[in-house]
Symmetry: D3
Subunit: 321 residues, 6 copies
């Protein structure tokens, strides 16, 4: 079935969408209308429903699926829908809200498997125990949480998916640079953003929590290690624990990006780059998905406001191997 961003500008639209938000507003001349954000797995789009009746406000609540007829337009450079008609989706129609939410492109079981594989390769006993202790504690939320509020992997399961992608790169790099300590590299990747489980408020309507704003996820994961060592009777002064802490504290790479120390061991430096690569590929790909070939994407604020070009020629399917 066609999705929101499969339609081009000025095309007639007819599809099922989820109401992400519905705000009751007044025009300057005091007439009520509903300001919607609709959503499906291709993205989000806004729409105004003029002359909304009180009953409409009752009916079209956030979290319900509707059938939408209208036209895709543009208002001040942003796409929007001009509504012709809307009605609730019926029982024999695809009315499960979960179908319309973006989520990680691989399922949780596959991700769990990859994590287990990585944990198996952490042969350093202290790191292995700490990683398993913390992951068990935050298991549920970790697989729900987005990786960020808006910039990258901002969808349900985004944090786990981001971490899995980073593990794949880490595995490849550890084969190229055999001097890297695998325990440290994999432990660092797995734990680097676990603090975001508490820093962010969860997968929907994601906001920073008070603790998130006042401490930040980098300090929070450090606190988790202190507590894990305390529970597991691991001496925090061991060099391996100290280096693991350092790797997590340093993973933003520079003080001005919020790391209280800069990377001083090779594994910390590498994790910083792996994190950058995955975050930026995700941002570019998301932007290009909504872009026509031969055009430039919307500007990506977190990448110096650059807009990226989508090429018109196809790329080959696979490698020679």
């Amino acid at each position: 079935m066609k999705k929101i961003y499969d339609y081009h500008k000025d095309e007639q639209v007819s599809l099922y969408v989820l109401i992400k938000s519905a705000e009751e507003k007044l025009t300057r001349t005091n007439k009520p209308y509903l300001s919607f954000i609709f959503q499906d797995t291709s993205g989000e789009i806004s729409a105004n429903y003029w002359d909304a009746k009180p009953k409409d406000v009752e009916t079209f609540k956030p979290g319900t699926v509707i059938k939408l007829e209208g036209k895709r337009e543009e208002y001040k450079g942003n796409p929007q829908i001009r509504i012709k008609a809307i009605r609730l989706a019926k029982n024999d129609e695809p009315n499960n809200p979960e179908l319309y939410v973006e989520r990680a492109p691989i399922n949780k079981d596959k991700m769990v498997e990859e994590f287990n594989h990585a944990v198996f390769d952490i042969t350093n006993a202290n790191m292995n125990r700490i990683v398993r202790f913390i992951m068990k504690k935050y298991q549920h939320d970790f697989f729900q949480s987005p990786a960020a509020k808006t910039n990258h992997h901002a969808f349900m399961g985004g944090l786990a998916y981001h971490t899995v992608s980073m593990l794949r790169i880490a595995r490849a790099l550890s084969e190229i640079y055999t001097e890297l300590d695998i325990s440290l590299l994999f432990s660092g990747v797995i734990l680097h953003d676990v603090g975001k489980v508490v820093e962010l408020s969860g997968p929907t309507a994601t906001e920073y929590t008070l603790e998130g704003k006042l401490l930040g996820h980098i300090v929070m994961i450090n606190e988790e290690i202190v507590k894990a060592c305390n529970e597991l009777k691991i001496d925090e002064n061991n060099e391996d624990v100290l280096l693991l802490k350092h790797t997590l504290l340093a993973h933003h790479g520079e003080l001005e990006y919020g790391s209280p120390v800069r990377p001083l061991i090779p594994e910390a430096e590498m994790i910083h780059y792996i994190d950058q690569i995955d975050a930026k590929m995700n941002m570019i790909s998301s932007a290009l998905k909504k872009t026509e070939p031969g055009e430039f994407s919307e500007r990506i604020w977190a990448m110096n406001n650059r807009s990226f070009y989508k090429k018109t020629f196809a790329h080959p399917d696979s490698l020679s191997e």
Copy 2:
């Protein structure tokens, strides 16, 4: 008795000094000599002892007090002593090394008293208990430690003295800005640099410890609060504990100075400024102590390499009150 920096350039020198360091070296043409750093409470100065005999190397060890005859000169803009004669200080002479080491200008008992006064004013129960727990744990080292390796208050007891001066400013500001929370302000000031007790190796030949380099004193004090709450059964999620942590994490003011978060409550912003004021006054005063009136001081690296002017006219003794 006249001290090192009471002598002017090209003046004949005759005084007792402590040998801070004594390194055996060779000239380019392979002749042995001793490279000294001498010290008294007015500062440090270097000197070379040419044609040092093996016996001299035995005799003039770091930590011993000597009688020095020579001339104060300058070499490439830095003061140094040209040695005429040196001998060990005798028993009836001031040969106690402690007499030659810079220390805080007020004694420990007076400082302890000021701390107790401040702790008394911390009426918030959680903060009061946390402050007392941590201060008790590090009490001994806290009153020994310098406040920094080189920049400011780099002497035995410097950390405690720096903290006491900051408490005095904090007390004054809390009377001017009555909206400030005194418990938070005083707790923040007392604890802000306690992590330096572990970050630095101690009052003599101060270096950064491995933990100091890889974590930094800001993260370390945060860990101490986590541990204190655990010991004292205080819930870390209480807002007062959270704000205390934030105040400590934010006290460097900007991310690029090593704080993982910027100040987001007024007490955190104020502590940052109080810290700056005391550190900078100490650096300027130290530099001006070694400067003649009407001259500019040596350059202060940590203050954008500025050199400060020492005025020639006297300043009045006291305020009208």
Copy 3:
């Protein structure tokens, strides 16, 4: 009586306010309306008065006090009032516009007294004469002027109040750092922003004057000293005059903040920090006044766009002394 910011979002509003500005506008469809900014001592708020008749335009002029009935709402994140009814305040109601304007929290007489106390402590004869000469010249405007156009102390008497607060900090610091020259410190504080009397257009609808934009208040106060010395037959080449000039020129601390020289004497460095402390405390306090406990304030542009947190627990009333 309740004030504008005592009302919460979506609450019914009934109170007296001053019309700060009233602009006649047209909707996109050509209907006239009045765009108001109302004001009382708790702050300012905007409101639109739809279908304004010509008589309304006549009646509701800036500078008049009205009785306002309506509702406090939010439009794009900013508070505004939806007007139900407005009428002019009557004679037996609080219709004196001066009651609604923010002003310094201590009165002019008290401020004058503090200034006189400080001037008394300037024992250096040249500085004392220069300070008194300039303060006499600008006395009237000085106690009227705001300290800035928008950032901090942007209210009638704000400049004098800012200066008085700085004098209090200066007095406290001069007791802690007895090496500071009191004459220089107090003279510098008193004169540092006097140039703003000419740089800014006055206490209402404050703008930069042409002279203010093209020269700036730092250069202007330097000119005042040149003129004062000329009038008072003081030799400008005296070191005390030179240092006073330097202190004023350097008080912004860094070239990029508009000081043509950086501080090169301790008093100049300290005045820079005192100025920072008072400006920032004022900005934070103003923002937090409009914020509910447990919420973050509006962003403060002049403080790197940070928004500050208002804590929920009370703070103790006073110090132990």
Copy 4:
């Protein structure tokens, strides 16, 4: 056989080394001496040969192998050798200079094979032809050239080795991010630093050429593409050629690092990161090779002057796969 950096400080040294440079100098008192830099595959070290006779100057020329007896010392924090005796290596001793020069850890044939494999995967016809044309033209020098004058891979064959490592990372990333165009990614990696063949003067005593300083290797490779298209009758206006040019021009990532444009397609962004990862891992590994476990390395100028920590615990041999 033991190498230079297998000896510790103050150890007696007895080994064969290559004379990298030998400069005749005079002491301040006019006595001639030879200032050597010795070299083997573990690195370089300096040494002074006092009282050098004219015959010595004749004998100990750069490029000859000698037997060296002496002591490893430190002078101002840098390692140096105090020479006891030197003589030319004899015919039955390892006197081939090539044995002492650092080179890529894999041999040229293996590297050529990896390049061929990658070129095979460039299925875009224009890119494939351009890559082969340019590589054929610079084949010889490409496998000789260092990748930089001093910072990273500064040894014979360093440029090819750096490029091969990057191809390995590129291959791994293209499997993780299947949206990347393999032809563009691999062509970009292979060509990105070919301009250095002309920018740098060659594998020994590497300097920037005049053309290198005035144009830079980024502009030079762009010129090569223009010329290749001209020879091969490929229309430069084809989008694939344009994107290939862009990828090469943008590979330094930011204008301030010398790219005239910033990356605007995902392949260009990725190549920038791959380049960074390989350059930095090489710099860190080189520095740590000369560092004792538990110590910090020399400062790395091109990495913000950081010095890296060498951990004391071993790392596991291999991954689970």
Copy 5:
């Protein structure tokens, strides 16, 4: 005849203008209107035409000249026209669109003459041939193209006019600094922005081309030189060709402004300054043209957002010579 910016705010307007753009839009309540931008040689201004009929949309196309009656107003600080009546210009009225487009203040013949004069002074044979080859190739577009999309000389012929002004400054400087190489200086000036002919899409509705965005005009002119040398059989390795390339590559002065190398010969440094002077004078003059004496201009984004003051006193007509 009076032009748009000869009218003051709130004045009745009656004049001929060109429709630069006409966009059909809907009000929030679904009523169609036309959003115009009108233009004459004094500048551009926007206007909305409410209740536009389908026939109006047909009639008032971009590129047609109309007679406009209305009022000059301001909307959010920007000037706009409130339309009273519009009609097409008649045949006996000034209805030639070219009359309303800003263009270079001197005509093409005069500019060609100045170019020829400059080329005559390029006595270096290689440079002379290269300059003539490239100028011939782009002759037509060069005299049409603007010098930039928005910032400076953004009008038909702007590129040629900017270059002519720079030649005049270059000529003056070459008389003051006789050590400058005239061939290099004049060739550099003439060619420095020729790449903009391809980088920008042309004189109307100017946009960056794809090639312009992905390569930039600095790289493009370098490519032109490579091609010219190939055609003209000039050896690119000649020092004069190399220096000419360098001059063009370096003319933005700093890496962060897009030059891949910084100026390393005096002629390159001078051309950078000449370019700056002419671009900035043009921006300031354009802004001041729309400003009343005694007022500040609109902010100029490309000059750190400064707004410039227009003085009220006249300036003398001419120099004494």
Copy 6:
């Protein structure tokens, strides 16, 4: 006669030079020697005179001319002279010290004439009177003073020569940009650096004065205008005086370069650029004078440490006109 920098490295030297400075020093092993700086109009060079006798110290005083035999060498990249023999210049030899000092390449009379011509073109009465008043006051020192301590025009008469060159550029620009106010432009150029007469200590052994360090030449010239207006009874509030002040205050272009305000009128912006052009051309030319064709100059600290290339081909003699 051949000058210092006419000799190449390792060439035998025989010429007359002026002793600029002669410092008595001791070798590390306590032997006296004389450390000279010699000078002629081609530049300065250092030389050590070993085993200096007390009589030598008496004879070879700074300010005397000597006959020097020796060899031009290099020590750590800097040129120096190895002395073979020195003796005082005799009466029939060129022993006038003035012959060896660098000075402006045009004589004072010619410069005075150019100034008079420029002043004649300042038709604005206030500016004309102010310029003449200040120039008369500082006339003598103005034609003696260097334009800077080290960076550019650091020779006797350098300030006047720098100003004359700027006047020539200003005259040329005023013909190209006829909208510039000639009175303002010429007055600004003439006065812009007059404050340096007091900021710097004079033409020999130039240092910053105390006033220069604490106020800076930008503030000083502003004070001079205040005093001139007072003497001449010119109302400082006149717009022309205000703009003249602004032009001088803003001539460093940016706050971080020490201007308390940025240029807000076109004349101020232009003077900033004219100043830059002349200062940089002088720095580059000075560096290239000491450089062989085909080589790069010493690094120029004030130009981002760049070193400039000296081309090998000749430049044509003159323009076609």
